[in-house]
Amino acid sequence: MIDFFEVIRRAINGAYCAEQDFAMKILVPKLRGVIKKYGIRYDPDTAVPSDDNLADRVFEAGVELCAEVGCYCRDTSRIIRFSRDEIREALRDAPANPVFGEGRDRKAMTARRPESAEAPYCFVGAGGAISSAEEVYVRLVEGYGRNPLIDSVTCPTLTKINGMEVVAGSPLELLACIRSVELGRAALRRAQRPGLPIMNSIATAVTAAGKIAGSAFGLRDSDGWVIGFTSPLQVPFERLNEVAYVLARGGQVVGETGEAMGGYAGGPEGIAVTNVAYHILAILILRSSAHLTFPMDFRYGCNTSWEIMWPINVSTQAICRNSHLPLLNLTYVGAGPVTDMCLYEIAAAKVGRVASGGNIEFGGVAKAITLDHFTPMEPKFASEVAHAVAGMTRAEANDIVKKLVPKYRDRLPNPPKGKKFQEAYDWDSIEPCQEYVDLYGRIKDELTGYGLKFK
């Protein structure tokens, strides 16, 4: 596989293109072309297709899109392009079975296949959701660490430090990044899981400087470092700087991508094909040891709508059938804690994505934008559902998703925010309130009736 210096060279010396021309004159027509050429058609009646041929055509379309379009570097207005041979080589040489964590919590993440009976890797926690105070942050992360199915944790975002609002690019961001790492590690020690990897790097970080400075206060090479592309198919120097840093210290990158349905990639077919192209670019450009993806439905700010299920599941199958780089699917739900909608959304998303071959990241509760509206219960539920789905066929998963989505689809435009962590949990014991325990049990019973086999 070509090395990172060559990637940087192409970011600096690649073909010049105006930003809008890259999107409208290169990406959009090429994407439409490959969708047509490979006969990819959205099926509005199916959430989890079982068609291997369709999955493989989506993958081939994604490979062609990647080769024809490349990735745009905003800082230089240049296109980073790769030949088909370089892409094949990258898929051949991509890391397999990366190991994360320390001591008893050291574990390999594997590339699952559709309908695999192997339990998915569970990267769960806050999904970068926003917390109001350090005390809330610590209790949440300790709560996440108590989940026996967690393999790595995603910590929240700190919105304040010493009572001051965190401002991106200011010293407050840098200090809040340092504080985030210190608090995350302390909380995991309190949960008796000191070796658990913190995989979302530092959610509080906006700049590379914030992430790099914060990392010096407790992040480990074994943690896994989430670094993301920008839509559509773009990468700024800020992110490449982070890659350069992580590679130099021997860490492992988790390449993050999240295209918006309704944006430049268009509808379900475009999202599916673009997701594959991102997977390849995550190997080549971000030098990823795993790919984390979260296509979003722009209308609702989450990815549990009926229309977004097909592209996520079909591209998950495409990737999991044709690449050995592990894939994680991140779910954002519309509703908040202690609501049936939140749990139905999680179940619908995870049933389809795990049966399609994905590992999981969870989560973004209440769209991850409502202060303190997330608790340790939702990631616990997501990981239990994910384990219960292992071994399920895609056809069975499709039937279940078809039953679940109608339970909440009418509420997506205005989902209930539910309760704050402080309302849903006992502050001292970090245990959920009885109302949530009862609701959790009721929904699990319902899912058991649909065929999920909770361990």
């Binding site: 409208m24 690019g169 809040a176 944006g263 475009g270 700010g301």
Partner: protein, 223 residues
């Protein structure tokens, strides 16, 4: 009469299909047939753009189609604008919007979609791009005689950039010159109220409704 209706429909269709060349020719055919340039703008062009905006809401078309329709609209205006001027008429616009993403924020997709929907609704839109400083918002708004400043933020730590624009306008005594709209995934009505923004919307379509209301208010002030 039917011919004129048909010609206007063809202009509308060219806009909906985002065919700039056809839109230009259809606009010329309207003028050649004696249709007033104002009618061509209002019935052919604007209605076409409005329909595209509605289709986006239903996910029948996406951002690229909106961009192509807006470009087709611009192409038609190249033909219609001189005719309007010759007739002593001016194409009305609800207002002028300066839009961008807050300082420190490099996310553009939400801003791009609102920007296109505003164009389809007839606004003059000046997109300042991403990572825009408060001073740039203020200076560009002054230069372009904007009615509205629209600021997007996708991260909690870039939301203060929205407040910085409002505070800067207050500090230099220009707050009442512009309506300020804020949006973006983590932005809430509570935040908008706290920083003294004039409008907030969770959705792009809602943003257009607010922009129309604010532009009307600004026009009322200037009357």
């Amino acid at each position: 009469m039917t011919d004129k209706k048909e010609l206007l429909s063809k202009l509308q269709l060219a806009i909906i299909e985002g065919d700039a060349e056809e839109a230009k020719q259809a606009a010329q055919r309207c003028l050649d047939a004696g249709i007033s340039p104002m009618a061509a703008v209002e019935t052919g062009l604007r209605d076409g753009l409005r329909i595209v905006g509605e289709k986006f809401e239903l996910l029948e078309v996406y951002l690229p189609e909106m961009i192509m329709s807006a470009e087709a609209g611009n192409a038609a205006m190249e033909v219609l604008e001189p005719a309007l001027a010759a007739a002593g008429q001016i194409a009305t616009s609800p207002g002028t919007v300066v839009i961008g993403t807050a300082k420190g924020d490099i996310h553009t997709i939400g801003k791009d979609i609102l920007s296109m929907l505003l164009k389809l609704a007839g606004f003059k839109v000046y997109d300042l791009g991403e990572d825009v400083a408060a001073t740039t918002f203020m200076e560009e708004a002054r230069k372009l005689k904007a009615d509205i400043i629209a600021i997007s933020a996708l991260m909690t730590s870039t939301m203060p950039g929205q407040r910085d624009v409002i505070n800067l306008l207050k500090d230099v005594g220009q707050r009442d010159k512009y309506a300020v709209m804020v949006g973006g995934a983590p932005v809430t009505q509570e935040w908008a109220d706290k920083i003294g923004a004039d409008a907030y919307s969770e959705t792009a379509a809602g943003g257009v409704m607010h922009a129309l209301r604010l532009a009307d208010r600004e026009a009322g002030r200037n009357r």
